[in-house]
Symmetry: C2
Subunit: 364 residues, 2 copies
C-alpha cells in the first residue's frame, strides 16, 4: 500500500468509526429522553442530523495529532475524542446560527429554523420564531453537555489534571471568548479607531477560529497520545498560521465566493456585519468617505445586490483583497515550512500536508 492510500484508508476508517460511535452515543441519549417524554425526540433528532454532515476537520486533525505522537490506529480513545469534538462543534453551530440569524446550515434549515418550522407545521400558538430560538438554545446546551460527557468517556487519558483535559477546557473558553469578540466588533467596530481594525480582526480569527479549529484539536490528539511539550509546540507552529489562513480564505469566500459552491447567499457575511481582516484592511485603506460607507452599510440585513457590489468594489479597489491574499499566502508558507520541520513519520506527515492543502486552497 502506498503512503497516500494508507492515509486515505486510515482516515476513512476513523471517520466511519466516529460516525458509528456518534450514532451509538446519540441513540443511548434518545433512550434516556424517551423516558422523559416522546415530545423531546426532536432535540436529539436535530443534533443527529447536524453531526451527520461536515468535513470533520477538527476530528481529523485530532486523529493525526494522535498518530503523529505515536498513538495507535483504531484506538477507541481517539475515536471518542473525535466524537467529543464533533459534538462540541455542533453545539457551537447551533448557537452561532441563532446569533447570526442564519436560517440554513449544511444545505438544510438550521436548528432554530427547524423548530420554528415544526411550530408552524403543527399550528401551535404564540410566536414560531421565538419558539425556534428558545428550542435551539436548549438543544445547543444539551449538545454542549453531550460533548463533555463524551470527552469524559475517554477515561484516564482525559481525566482531571491531564494535559488533554486542560487543552479541552482552554479550547472551550477561548472559542467562546473569540465569538464574543466577533459580535462585539460588529457593534463596536464602527465607533472604534479605524487604525486598530486589522489587529482586532486578527485577534478574533485567532481565538474564534484558528486556535479552536486547528491548533487545539491537533494538540489534543497529541496530548492524548502523551506527546512531549516540544512536539506540541511544533504542532502549534504549523497549525496556528494554518488556521488563520483557513479562516481568511473563508472570509474571502464569504464576500467573493460563488453561492453555488459555498452554499451561502452572496454577501451574507456583509449583511451580518462580520468585521473580518478583509474588511479591516478595506476600512483602513479606503478613502474616509468609502470607510464611512462601509460603517453605514455593514450589518444591514436588507443589503441589496447593488450595495453588496459597491462594497466588493471598495474592497478590491482599496487593495484590501490583495492585502488579504498576501497575508493568506504568507501564513500558508509559514504553516508549510513548519510542517516540513515536524518530526513525524511519513503517514501522519502526508495526512497533515493533505489537510493543510485542502484548508487553504478550497473554493467552498
Amino acid at each position: 500500500m502506498t503512503v497516500s492510500s494508507q492515509v486515505s484508508s486510515e482516515q476513512a476508517e476513523f471517520v466511519s468509526a466516529v460516525a458509528g460511535k456518534l450514532n451509538g452515543f446519540l441513540s443511548g441519549q434518545q433512550d434516556l429522553m424517551a423516558g422523559v417524554s416522546a415530545d423531546v425526540a426532536p432535540l436529539i433528532g436535530s443534533i443527529s442530523q447536524l453531526v451527520t454532515g461536515g468535513k470533520r476537520l477538527r476530528a481529523l486533525l485530532c486523529y493525526w495529532g494522535w498518530r503523529g505522537a505515536g498513538g495507535g490506529a483504531g484506538d477507541p480513545d481517539i475515536v471518542t475524542a473525535g466524537c467529543a469534538l464533533e459534538l462540541f462543534q455542533a453545539a457551537a453551530l447551533i448557537h452561532d446560527d441563532i446569533i447570526d440569524r442564519s436560517d440554513t446550515r449544511r444545505g438544510g434549515p438550521s436548528v432554530h429554523k427547524r423548530f420554528s418550522q415544526l411550530h408552524e407545521a403543527q399550528g401551535w400558538a404564540l410566536d414560531s420564531g421565538r419558539f425556534g430560538d428558545a428550542a435551539a438554545i436548549l438543544t445547543g446546551d444539551l449538545c454542549l453537555s453531550f460533548s463533555e460527557e463524551s470527552f469524559t468517556g475517554i477515561g484516564p487519558r482525559a481525566a482531571s489534571g491531564t494535559p488533554a483535559r486542560s487543552i479541552f477546557n482552554v479550547m472551550r473558553a477561548e472559542v467562546m471568548a473569540g465569538q464574543y469578540l466577533d459580535i462585539l466588533e460588529e457593534v463596536a467596530g464602527p465607533v472604534r479607531d479605524r487604525a486598530g481594525s486589522v489587529d482586532r480582526a486578527k485577534s478574533i480569527i485567532r481565538y474564534k477560529s484558528a486556535k479552536y479549529s486547528t491548533e487545539h484539536p491537533l494538540a489534543l490528539g497529541g496530548a492524548l497520545a502523551g506527546a512531549p511539550a516540544e512536539l506540541l509546540r511544533a504542532y502549534s507552529e504549523f497549525s496556528l498560521p494554518l488556521g488563520e489562513a483557513f479562516q481568511m480564505r473563508d472570509d474571502v469566500l464569504g464576500v467573493f465566493g460563488d453561492p453555488e459552491t459555498t452554499g451561502k447567499p452572496a454577501g451574507d457575511d456583509l449583511r451580518e456585519g462580520k468585521r473580518t481582516v478583509l474588511v479591516g484592511f478595506a476600512i483602513n485603506q479606503a478613502s474616509p468617505a468609502e470607510a464611512d460607507y462601509l460603517d453605514r452599510t455593514l450589518g444591514n440585513p436588507g443589503l441589496g445586490a447593488e450595495e453588496v457590489e459597491a462594497i466588493r468594489r471598495i474592497i478590491v479597489q482599496s487593495g484590501a483583497l490583495e492585502a488579504t491574499e498576501a497575508l493568506i499566502a504568507e501564513l500558508s508558507s509559514q504553516a508549510f515550512a513548519a510542517l516540513e520541520r515536524l518530526p513525524l513519520q511519513e503517514v501522519p506527515l502526508t495526512a497533515l500536508s493533505r489537510l493543510a492543502e485542502a484548508a487553504v486552497s478550497r473554493a467552498a
Copy 2:
C-alpha cells in the same frame, strides 16, 4: 453545641467555602480571559455577579446528601461539587432569562439586559437587544463549560464511570429536556387535549424542577460519599415530592405572590404563558368559555392588571388554587414521611428537615 446550632455553623462554613472557591475559580478564568483580550472581562464579570446571590439550595442539598452518607465536614471535594452546581444553575438562569425575556434577576438586570445596557451606554452600532441576547448566549455557554470544568476538578470521585458522574450527566440532560417541555407546552398546550394538561404540567415540573433542584443534588452528594443504592433510593422518596411541592409553591407565588416579596412583577408567569399545574387545573375545571379565555390570554406579554385579575379569578373560582394547595400539602407530607424514614444521623436529618420546611412554606 446544640444540633440546631451545629447545622447552622456547618452550613455557614460550607456556603462560605463555596463562595471562596467560586471566587478563586472565576478569578483564574478571568486571568485566562485577560490573555485573550480585556474586552472579554464582562463575560466573567456577569457570571461572578450571578453566582454571588441565590439561596444555594442545590449546593446545600448536595452537602447534606454527602454528610448523610458519611462524608466529612469541610472536605474540599464537596465544596467543589457545590461550586459546579452553582455554576450550572447560573448557566441555566442566563439562558432561561433569554428564553423567558426576563429583564431582572436577583434584584438586578439579567445578563442579556446587562449586555444590552452596556451596548447603549457605549453608543455602539446596530441593535442593542440583539447584541444582549447574543452575548448572553455565549456567557451561558461559557458558564456551562465552567460548571463541568469545576465538576471534573473533583477528581477520582467524579471520574468517568462513577455514580456521581452519571448523576451529573443525567441531571443536565433531564433539566434541558424539562425546559423544552415547558416551552413546548406554552405553544402546544392551547391546541392539545385539555384533559391532559395537569399530567403534562406535572411531567414538566418533575424534570425541569424537582429532579434538577432537589433529587439530583441530594443524590449527587450521597454518591460522592459512596452512598449505597438503598440510601439513594430513600433520598429520592424524600426529595422528589419535596421538589414538586417546592415548584408548585413557586407557581402559586408567580400568580398570587406579593411582588414586593417575590421580586417579580405580578402576573409575569401569566404573561410568559407558563402552563403550570395550577393553570392546568384551571383549564380543566373552569367552564369551556373560561378555558378559552385562558388559552387566548396566557402568553400575551401585554396583559394588563385587569386581565391578570380576571385570570386569577378563574383560577380561584374553578377550584384550581384549592386543588393545587391540596396537592402541595399531599406532596409535602409524602416528603416529610420519607424524611422520617431516612437512616441519618441527627445533624444531617435536622438540616434536611429545615431545608424542606423552608422550601415548601416560603413566601418568596
